[in-house]
Symmetry: C2
Subunit: 437 residues, 2 copies
Amino acid sequence: LDAQKARKFRETYLAYHVYEQAQVFIELDRDERTRLYRYLTPEEVGDMFNAIEEEPEKVVAFFDEMTPTYAAGVINEMYSDNVVDILAYANKEHLNNYLRLLPAKTAAEIRKLLHYEDKTAGSIMSTEFVAISQELNVEQAMQEIKVAAKDAETIYYVYVINDEQRLVGILTLRDMLRNENHIMVKDIMNRQVMSVKVEDDQEDVARTIRDYNFLAIPVTDFANHMIGIINVDDIIDVIDEESAEDYSGLAAVDVEQPDESPWRAAFKRMPWLITLLLLGMSTTSLISHYESLVSQASILAVFMSSITGTAGNAGTQSLATAVRRLAFDDDEKSLLRQLFGELITGVILGLVTGTVIMIIVGIWKHNFVLGFVIGFAMMCAIIVANLAGSFIPMFMDKIGVDPAVASGPFISTLSDLTSVLIYFNIARLFLNFFVGQ
Amino acid sequence: LDAQKARKFRETYLAYHVYEQAQVFIELDRDERTRLYRYLTPEEVGDMFNAIEEEPEKVVAFFDEMTPTYAAGVINEMYSDNVVDILAYANKEHLNNYLRLLPAKTAAEIRKLLHYEDKTAGSIMSTEFVAISQELNVEQAMQEIKVAAKDAETIYYVYVINDEQRLVGILTLRDMLRNENHIMVKDIMNRQVMSVKVEDDQEDVARTIRDYNFLAIPVTDFANHMIGIINVDDIIDVIDEESAEDYSGLAAVDVEQPDESPWRAAFKRMPWLITLLLLGMSTTSLISHYESLVSQASILAVFMSSITGTAGNAGTQSLATAVRRLAFDDDEKSLLRQLFGELITGVILGLVTGTVIMIIVGIWKHNFVLGFVIGFAMMCAIIVANLAGSFIPMFMDKIGVDPAVASGPFISTLSDLTSVLIYFNIARLFLNFFVGQ
């Protein structure tokens, strides 16, 4: 009876695409998962695990539910890049257990991959690629590819290596199909093969794959030995991750896991809110210094938020532009030239916006001196916020910090401080002229 | 002499990858481009044009520099999805000129593609795919693929159609290589082929390709006839575009072309800044209503920016989370449940943040009634901003507007208004208690 149930379950479950299997799997409870391990082979579970996109901390716990032999079977079937992401979160003892049960070669590969630094090409590459010798002809090469087809993550690109395992060329399956069997690989391969180094930043790899429209790119070590391959689907994950980071930085909230309980959401946003509040207290205490000025001319309080708000918006615009430029442009203009450009932009924005508010205030309050004070203060505040918005991410990039973490609200808070300083000092200068009117 | 120069130029130029050729090409001036057209065949220029990633308005001008016959040759060589993006910007007369010079079938295809709505699957698909009949065996199918390999954008997936051109299955080259020549295609093909409809949103297509790790997906019409294919490299462009849109919305600045002159940058940011300034004037005029209150208690002016700032930050956090959730989650919880979750998050954030500021103000100003007023106002302002930040994008999504255009600064400006209203009303209620102390 159980055998029949198992057969029926296997038939239904395995008919789904692995991504859909994975979607179902992560909704199961522990008992159901245990039963599933009994019904499916480690290979089938391994295929499915390649498609799980949960946090690795969660997935590693699944391994711990299986018998070590079963887990090793699953690990053996998975692509090395996926397995390494997950095993990085395994505890040492479990990890050694699994590795001991794996074929020596696979275990050694995983050990090596575990050592690559996070966010480098090495950390996202897999070792399941097809490499053939340049001394083969097309027919022999096709034979090798047929054998490799079982395990390789992609067989569309065939990498050609020489006797010393160095990468010397690339062929696509298309090239092979369009050539006669007796033609030598080395005569038709493309010798100008693009590759990335194992220590390259994953963002640079993403840029190359995107710009060149590659489906995969080979990874080499310092001596041009081919050691791995990065596929376009891993690059999509990198692009998603990096764009979520940029976006999170601008909003001061981690948006990578948007669907969660209100408690967890509050818990994640709280540190940012409180930090910004405390930073904002410096602005508050600065305003506090000018309290007597405000009590002399309460009209100043009316326009304060308008000035800090507009300068904050200008600063956010220039920040966002700078962060994107740093993320996507290869050939960077000199720091000074960029800052100079942003200065000019700020002056234009400040002049126009300042003039607009000057006219509005002048007409509304019948007080053109007040209008001038507000307009002039807004112009200065915008120029400063604009410069800060572009300088800070560029500076962070120069010292090796990801500029995306320079959050928009952080810039706004900073710009509040300078805006208030500018505003009240200009206002004090002209106080007698506009209060008297 | 000229012939020799041409040969030398061709040799050097064509040795580069098409992406690099394109990078060089866009830097040339008009004279240089004209010379290049003389040296290269339309086919070679067409290959290169596939790799150009400039604005289509710019590229279409290149066609106008060529003789119509040459331009038609270039167009004929390009992939249909790329060519259609560009020709959408051609003037009618030129377009008809080009189409007249193209093979009838290609011209008809381009005409059809030009009619699909922007941002749908139809607008990004190409028609260069490999489709074979299910009645072939593996050997015959391989023969067809070899022929198709010249023009198809990808040959890795082979789509299987029946006599009525309906999509019935899919095979990968890997499947073919692993099966004997005499096996029938219909016996080894995967019948559960995922496809998208021609009118589907490009974001949904991107999500499917990303989740399933596909290299391409077939596009069908209402009757399941296969009419095109969308490749992963086009999907990367979609993901880039959509993430730039989300990011732009949050910063109120278009970041898609970050590298430009200060004048253009100012020109692009100005409308947002001025709009937000004018919207902000409603807050200013509201504050203006409370001017007499401020002149009675100038201390209120001191904490105003702290309350509007913090509520604005909370609103931005909830906005960003909502926008990402709408963009990435398929199974949406009910609107009410999401809003309720955000309400709870807002209450938690408001309670904690309000308590923190209450303690700070109480100790700093030795006035716990004032502290309570500030803390209570901040709590209410945060709850309202949080709700608005999630409600507005969800509402926009429901009425079919892209929620990404709900900019962060827009939410901040809105939340300024409600925060000020809440703050001064609470303050007025307790005025006698904290001013007297």
